[in-house]
């Protein structure tokens, strides 16, 4: 499928610079919006994947090596994506709208996600609904740690995504202490909006069946640092105020 992309080039001539000057971000690119929504890789915006530079035999070998595992991975991803077990984690007002998606108007059971598990050990989706205060942040982190991989997190509402209405001393944005896959804006987001966010996550899971979130989000080094581990140079202790 041809991805139509046009780029407005600076006029060629003596006065034109050899390459675009600093301000690449100012270059105007017209990208097909539909393709962008479908997740097509866009030059300059999407980081290159390992198979982007392969050609000919290398590419063929790459593909044949992966065809079997890819199909199996896709099947597993399909199963995982269609059967999230959300953890019952309601913090504040967004929790009421999260309860609404379980209710009958926007029914989350038709997608297969109605099994809200109370124990984080049995859940794989943490819907952070509500404002995360500084007293609650270690508790949320602990619950996220207790979940077994693969696990995903949706930050529902403005408060945990981006401090929301209250940007003050008492709140912590969720991305500060745990990786979040999908942010759902709104205060509170409508149940349909949350549903859209969950389905977006489902699409993400179906597309890319990686396990291990620390690899997925390049989060190596964000493990909890305890005692002698602090000597490791790439370790970042997000809870230590002195670090």
């Amino acid at each position: 499928m041809e991805i139509k992309r046009e780029r407005l080039e600076p006029p060629r001539g003596e006065s034109a610079p050899a390459r675009p000057v600093r301000g690449d971000d100012l270059a105007i690119r017209r990208v097909d919006a539909v393709q962008m929504l479908r997740g097509a890789p866009i030059e300059g915006l999407t980081p290159a994947r390992e198979h982007d530079d392969l050609t000919d035999e290398d590419l063929e070998r790459h593909v044949t090596e992966r065809v079997l595992t890819t199909t199996l991975d896709k099947a597993v991803a399909w199963a995982r994506g269609n059967s999230f077990f959300p953890a019952t984690f309601g913090l504040a007002c967004c929790a009421i709208e999260m309860m609404s998606i379980v209710a009958s108007r926007v029914d989350v059971a038709r997608f297969g996600f109605e099994a809200f598990r109370a124990s984080p050990r049995q859940a794989d989706l943490l819907i952070l609904s509500g404002r995360v205060s500084i007293k609650m942040a270690p508790v949320v982190r602990r619950i996220y740690d207790q979940m077994l991989e693969p696990k995903w997190a949706i930050s529902m509402g403005a408060c945990c995504s981006s401090m929301g209405v209250f940007n003050n001393y008492a709140l912590v944005p969720a991305d500060k202490f745990m990786p979040v896959d999908v942010h759902v804006p709104g205060c509170p987001p409508r149940p349909e909006a949350l549903m859209h966010g969950i389905l977006k996550l489902r699409k993400m899971v179906l597309d890319d069946p990686d396990m291990g979130w620390r690899e997925r989000y390049e989060a190596r080094g964000t493990e909890e640092v305890v005692g002698e581990d602090a000597a490791r140079d790439n370790a970042v202790n997000v809870f230590d105020p002195r670090a």
């Binding site: 999407t46 995504s161 003050n168 008492a170």
Partner: protein
């Protein structure tokens, strides 16, 4: 609400019991308020209880920065029989923010005095369990004071949405 004359009579009665207790009376927008000295609060509340104000609706604090004494504590009393409300106010400076706790007489003051301690730093002598209630136990600072900054954090995002595609 006791009207202005009723308030003055009440204040006079309290002054007869304890001359230094009532510092000022105020009748504003139809509501009566008594300003009392911090040391006399328990006696005043007891006297008001005998007058019929048996329900303490609220106990809250104000920071009057930059007026000194800075920290104010207000007690809202309610007389259910006559549907009357009266406010009792007192003020303490920040360098000696101590007030007698009224929790032994009014059990409803328990959590509310803890909240005042947490948010303003007012120490209630005689409170059974004066700890921080809303902030973490080892938090430093009294957030609701006016010279405490509102705070806030720059927001970070886990940049992964473009990589893994959009659309449903």
């Amino acid at each position: 609400m006791p009207d202005a004359t009723g308030l003055e009579l009440l204040a006079q009665e309290l002054r007869e019991k304890d001359p230094d207790s009532v510092v000022d009376t105020l009748h504003f927008r139809g509501k009566a308020a008594l300003s009392v000295a911090p040391g006399a609060i328990r006696g005043v509340l007891q006297a008001l209880r005998e007058h019929g104000y048996t329900f303490m609706a609220s106990l809250h604090g104000v920071d009057y920065y930059p007026d000194e004494p800075r920290l104010g504590v207000q007690y809202e009393l309610l007389d259910m029989q006559r549907v009357d409300r009266i406010t009792v106010k007192l003020r303490v400076p920040t360098d000696a923010p101590e007030v007698d706790s009224v929790t032994p007489d009014w059990p409803t003051a328990d959590h509310q005095e803890r909240e005042l301690y947490d948010m303003f730093g007012v120490v209630f002598r005689g409170h059974p369990d004066l700890r921080r209630i809303l902030m973490p136990e080892d938090y430093e600072g009294y957030p609701q004071r006016r010279d405490f900054p509102v705070g806030g954090e720059p927001v970070l995002f886990t940049y992964n949405e473009q990589r893994y595609g959009g659309g449903v």
